[in-house]
């Protein structure tokens, strides 16, 4: 009787292990997309990445600190952000991403940075040339939902987690509009 079970076991274990990792990895990303918390996160302002608006970091780049946004890549958060975007009158200045009184949000040109922490700062602190200060008005967990939705407007969030456009106007072709 050839005793090869040891190697086979190891190989099988290895294959099984890889397969499990793969399955878990897929499950993990879709878990993140689909996860819903039953309680809102308490405010964690001190823990988010210190938002940098300049790419010029004297003395060399520092490693990132803090924690990522809880809403990134999360379908529920992004769809809540879409609802809040109208609710807090963001669409009044930014339209459906095209801009108006405020600049466009759909074109990846972010004056004050496009990272979640930058957009969080923009919403909470306001910006010098007209962006209002929402800090103290919008609860933090909703700000992160808005952040994720704003990023989704320029395609910076996974498309599987991003809601469809709903500007309320049935889309017409250019020919129909003439």
């Amino acid at each position: 009787m050839v005793r090869s079970t040891g190697i086979m076991k190891r190989v099988t274990k290895g294959v099984l292990a890889c397969a499990s990792v793969l399955v878990l990895a897929t499950l993990a990303s879709s878990c993140k997309r689909e996860s819903r918390t039953l309680r809102n996160e308490p405010p964690q302002r001190g823990l988010y990445d210190a938002a940098r608006e300049s790419t010029n970091e004297p003395g060399g780049k520092l490693p990132k600190i803090g924690m990522p946004s809880p809403a990134e890549g999360n379908a529920y958060a992004i769809s809540q952000g879409q609802r809040l975007f109208d609710w807090y009158n963001c669409s009044g200045c930014h339209a459906q991403g095209g801009g108006g009184m405020g600049p466009p949000l759909m074109d990846r040109r972010f004056t004050y940075g496009s990272q979640p922490a930058n957009i969080y700062d923009t919403i909470v602190r306001g910006r010098p040339n007209g962006m209002p200060t929402w800090g103290g008005r919008i609860p933090e967990f909703q700000v992160w939902q808005l952040v994720a939705y704003v990023r989704s407007l320029s395609g910076s969030e996974p498309s599987a987690a991003t809601p469809g456009r709903s500007d309320g106007l049935e889309k017409k072709t250019r020919a129909q509009l003439q």
């Binding site: 009158n89 095209g98 010098p128 509009l177």
Partner: protein, 581 residues
């Protein structure tokens, strides 16, 4: 009769004798009648084709330049968009900079201005220039030295207010109004003391009669405008407090009748289902006493406005022969598509004829004065309404017309736009938009989005019209030699024959033109024509604001109608001054 301290003469114009021409341009509307007519005759239909650039001046700004270059003596004055600098230029030195006054405007006010951070200019009177800043100050500046004489706060950006209009200076009053009908503001017209800047009176556009300065002398012509506290009862409870109606447009004055004329803006929010009732006194023409602000008559052009047809357009005061009589009238080309000709003493509508394509109403009832709306075109919850014509910027927006005493015609720069609207629930948060509508505009019938039209007010019809690719968002001026000037959003500054509409000359400036042209006699005795080039305003927001054309609902729907504008013009403000060789 008091001696006029400025270019406005003590009597109103009439068809046969315009105001005396002194070669200056002391207020954007030229004079109290707002005729924008020049008696200068050096440039005529024969030689205007030789017009060339005399000098230029860069404003250093990239937003919409809507102001009128003023000329007082040998100095020209221009006001820029935010941050609202006032430049004084020396006309004896090819426009060399004499001084600049910088009022120091709150940068956050840029986030509260609906339609680009424009300013329509200053007004000169008795050695001072008066103008408004975006963050709600009225300033008085010494015209010689550029020093600030006074600066008064009129409003608050935290309530969504801004100011963009040109003050009217009448006797010892500086009359100003606020903007913000898209921001849930409470609209008003305010009279300041010209010497000290203190607020003398404030007439709100809604609220109880005591707030609207409606008193015992108020005699509206039509029954619907009569009644107590209509500024409260024609709204759901309390809605008038955030109901809009600002006076952000033009004010005229008749010294003989001692009446100022102006219109109020749209009611807020745009979604009409949220404010049942006539919403007085939005979209209303008022005649008031300049000294006290007391209302003498009012006519609500647009009761329960469904379309953002602000009533703020200019009122041109002329005396015209109607049915064998000379009547003192005002001509008011409104957003709703009609040129209203009204008796300016009583507020009676003599005629309201269409100068644009209209689907939203069927006319003004002669008996009641009420605009007859087409119900099917009213936006509201749960529906998308299409082919709303004129679109919200109206058949004509703020861009002011000019009247020629030679031809008897009104020269109207205007729009040809329709739109579709889907109404949503507007959520009031002070300092943010309060609109409740998603809009997409597009070209009206014919495909041209703009026109420049010669209108016969007595006959009530178009005499000739020039179609333009984009809305003609600039002002205009017409001279006694039958030359009319206007600018296009591509940047062409054009001279046309005021009798026939034939184009006589054009020049391509650096950016789209939305400013008001003026003409004056320079220190050397030559006639000059000045205009600001620099695209923007509501129509030019797609370029001035760098908007993304993939979202047609941007800029309150204007983006969709202007998707190609970036192909034709870029930003940048420059003053151009032209003369004959």
């Amino acid at each position: 009769m008091q001696t006029p301290k400025h270019g406005g003469a003590p009597t109103a114009s009439n068809l046969h004798s315009p105001q005396p021409e002194d070669g200056q341009w002391v207020m954007p509307s030229k004079n109290y009648d707002a005729t924008r007519f020049s008696g200068l005759d050096q440039i005529d239909t024969q030689n205007v084709r030789n017009l060339k650039v005399a000098w230029t001046f860069s404003t250093g700004m990239t937003r919409g330049e809507e102001a009128a270059p003023l000329v007082v003596g040998s100095t020209m004055y221009i006001v820029t968009p935010y941050p609202n600098y006032l430049y004084a230029l020396d006309l004896t030195q090819n426009g060399a900079l004499k001084w600049v006054y910088k009022p120091g405007v709150d940068p956050s006010s840029q986030g509260v201005a609906c339609c680009d951070v424009v300013n329509r200019g200053a007004a000169y009177s008795a050695g001072k220039l008066f103008y408004n800043t975006l963050d709600n100050y009225t300033v008085a500046v010494d015209a010689q030295t550029g020093r600030q004489v006074w600066k008064t706060q009129l409003g608050d950006i935290n309530k969504g207010q801004t100011m963009t209009m040109v003050p009217l200076v009448v006797k010892d009053r500086v009359i100003v109004g606020n903007s913000g009908g898209e921001m849930g503001v409470r609209g008003w017209l305010t009279g300041l003391d010209a010497k000290t800047g203190k607020i003398a009176w404030r007439a709100y556009a809604a609220g109880p009669d005591s707030d609207v300065l409606i008193g015992p002398n108020f005699k509206p012509f039509y029954d619907e405008d009569r009644g107590k506290d209509l500024g409260v009862t024609s709204w759901p409870p309390g809605a008038w407090k955030i109901g809009g109606g600002g006076a952000w447009g033009w004010v005229s004055y008749d010294p003989e009748l001692d009446l100022i004329y102006y219109g109020t803006a749209n009611p807020g929010p745009w979604n009409p289902d949220q404010r049942p009732g006539d919403n007085k006194w939005s979209c209303t023409l008022f005649a008031r006493r300049p000294e006290t602000g007391e209302a003498i008559w009012a006519y609500q052009i647009g009761p329960h406005d469904d379309f953002d047809y602000d009533g703020v357009n200019e009122n041109v005061l002329v005396d015209l022969p109607i049915n064998g009589q000379t009547r003192k009238v005002l001509l008011h080309p409104d957003r709703d598509g009609y040129v209203y000709m009204m008796d300016r003493a009583t507020g009676e509508v003599l005629s309201a004829e269409a100068f644009g394509y209209i689907t939203t109403n069927t006319g003004v009832d002669k008996k009641t004065g009420r605009l007859q709306l087409v119900k099917a075109k009213s936006p509201g919850f749960g529906k998308t309404v299409r082919d709303i014509c004129p679109a919200s910027p109206g058949a004509k927006d703020w861009q002011p017309s000019a009247f020629s005493f030679k031809t008897g015609l009104l020269y109207v720069p205007h729009n040809n736009l329709c739109q579709e609207v889907s109404a949503t629930a507007a959520n009031y948060i002070a300092g943010t938009p309060y609109v409740g509508a998603t809009v997409r505009m597009y070209a009206g019938p014919g495909g041209n989005r703009g026109e420049y039209t010669a209108w016969d007010p007595v006959a009530g019809k178009v005499i000739w019209t020039i179609k333009e690719r984009f809305p003609v968002w600039s002002g205009t001026v017409v001279t006694t030699t039958d030359v009319a000037f206007y600018g296009t959003m591509e940047g062409w500054f054009k001279a046309v024959n005021a009798k026939t509409g034939q184009q006589l000359w054009q020049f391509k400036t650096g950016s789209g033109i939305i400013g008001q042209p003026t003409t004056y006699r320079g220190p050397d005795g030559k006639q000059y024509v000045a205009v600001l080039s620099g695209v923007g305003g509501w129509a030019g927001a797609v370029v001035a604001g760098g908007l993304d054309t993939r979202d047609g609902t941007g800029a309150l729907g204007f983006t969709n109608a202007m998707i190609d504008l970036p192909k034709y013009t870029t930003r940048g403000g420059t003053l151009y001054v032209f003369s004959l060789p």
